[in-house]
Symmetry: C2
Subunit: 112 residues, 2 copies
């Protein structure tokens, strides 16, 4: 079973539309980096789970774990025209990858 | 200027995480259908705007307009295991496509 988890920063209190666009950005860019699993994942329903982390530091730790485990991922840094400062890390797309591998990274993060 | 608009149904009152995953699904699948504009759009910042429509009928009308204008698009029908009935249309990804073309379809829809 393949899945993708998108982690967003809960501490930024993003408005709903802004949060959704950051999640979409992370999801799309991570998926485009998953050449080996993308189509199989889409054909099996393209499961996407959105969870919330506490702050920039925890997002950065999760990003490092993805790199260490060689999981396709993408960290969104917002251009910052409106809601947050330029360059603010807002969301991380993890996978698509095998469920167990994704859970190794994101298993401890709260559900939105 | 290229952009993508994702329209979600406001009347379903989806929880934030569910809404964000539906938006991500619509965004990704519409982008994967936009072979001619996807990379140029991503290189120019991959603008994604999330807006809300009133009900299933208005989402369906917007979907029809996309087809009529031959704009890359994707209508999400949720598998419905949890929050909504199976097959419920929840979100529509419009574009990436030239801004004016997207606005012709989505210009009258409320911002989330």
């Amino acid at each position: 079973m393949l899945k993708q988890v998108i982690v967003v920063r809960g501490d930024l209190d993003l408005p709903v539309g802004k949060l959704a666009s950051q999640v979409a950005h992370a999801s799309l860019e991570a998926a485009l980096r998953a050449d080996e699993t993308r189509d199989a994942w889409r054909e099996s329903g393209a499961e996407k789970i959105v969870v919330r982390c506490s702050d920039a530091s925890s997002l950065s730790t999760l990003h490092g774990e993805c790199d260490r485990l060689d999981i396709p991922c993408y960290l969104v840094r917002d251009a910052g025209h409106t809601v947050v400062e330029p360059g603010t890390a807002t969301a991380l797309g993890v996978g698509p990858a095998p469920e167990g591998v994704v859970d190794d990274v994101t298993g401890g993060v709260e559900l939105v």
